[in-house]
Symmetry: C2
Subunit: 222 residues, 2 copies
């Protein structure tokens, strides 16, 4: 089982280590800074996102960090544990994002917009982590899989609740809240599959566009 004591790898842009994240002064050699456990997770995120969990070798992960294949097992008991660490922390980050958006003041519509904006931008900005989170569910082992599925249910529930609230207030016109909630999340989630940071639209812009599309999908017409 992974430690999950350090969740700092969820910060930063997609696996690149933050400068000075340990508060010990300027890093002379950013490529070799930070503790090995964190850097192994970062390397695993990159590798799993690029090639998938099963196509990635422990050797590949260790080599990316500049360690021998055996060094990985000092920090993680197995390749599976590395995946579990990534998937669980990633899911928790996504849920946290949703819940913070939902807790904000405003109308059901403005909260839904905030959710879609943030959730979509996260799936673009952190597309490597998000790809692992969304595409390697099947590779998870119990009891991690169960834990992750529960988080996913809460995410869907939070979105559906906004649609129901919007229907009740008259702002929205959503006949099938369950199916539309799933569609909205599906739309955001799939950004992680195709997003390329070299593209012409930023993560924030895509979040903005998707919040607008969501608004059109759920609001009353004429």
């Amino acid at each position: 089982m992974a430690t999950r004591s350090t969740t700092s790898w969820t910060d930063g842009d997609d696996g690149r280590p933050n400068h000075d994240s340990d508060g010990k002064g300027v890093n002379q050699d950013p490529g070799r800074s930070g503790d090995s456990a964190r850097r192994l997770v970062e390397a695993a995120v990159e590798a799993f996102a690029e090639r998938g969990f099963h196509a990635t070798t422990t050797r590949d992960i260790a080599t990316r960090v500049g360690l021998s294949p055996a060094a990985l097992y000092v920090h993680f008991p197995s390749k599976q544990a590395l995946l579990a660490e990534i998937s669980i922390v990633g899911h928790e980050a996504a849920l946290d994002l949703i819940e913070r958006s939902v807790d904000q003041p405003g109308t059901a519509l403005s909260r839904l917009q905030a959710v879609i904006r943030a959730f979509t931008a996260w799936h673009a900005e952190r597309h490597r982590v998000a790809r692992v989170v969304q595409h390697e569910l099947e590779a998870l082992a119990e009891p991690d899989k169960r834990r992750v599925l529960e988080i996913r249910r809460r995410i869907e529930g939070a979105v559906e609740a906004q649609l129901s609230a919007g229907n009740a207030s008259g702002e929205m016109d959503v006949p099938d809240t369950r199916a539309v909630a799933r569609a909205l999340l599906s739309l955001s989630v799939d950004v992680a599959r195709w997003y390329d940071p070299r593209g012409s639209r930023s993560a924030a812009q895509i979040g903005e566009l998707y919040a607008d599309l969501a608004t059109r999908m759920v609001t009353v017409r004429d």
Copy 2:
């Protein structure tokens, strides 16, 4: 390289063989009917969809069909070739679907609705093939990958063309046709990831819902 001479496996519901597809009379034992090549493809679709290309063993595929591991190599030169067969035929089927919808008479909006309806329903109805088509791109080898990417460009182009036409005719109000075309396809495609035939909504119903959501997304308001 795979033969691609028989594309009959794209018919039927998700890998279950058609009765009497060879015109030789009633099959006494449907589970063991049909030629081995086709049944291997069907088994590979199931396995790749469930567990992914890399997590699937040739042994697993052959066993599902009731053959020895070695028998697979009589019909396909490699596991890669099996994937290529599935991916290419699947992509061609999806493109065909789009082009047939686009060629129909009507307005840009009605054609877009037809595209989304058909494309979405296909990703639900044939979710196993679609999952392989959409999630195993990275596992493809050249030159198959190049060929498939070209098909994907044509699909995106066809949808974007409808949005541009709709803007021109005044039916639609789509500021960023490129991004919205990608979003619409992304929405449809992702159905293959989560669709479960045991769910309460049929493939056709989801297609209908998504055509409606698409309409709301692109049409002029007020």
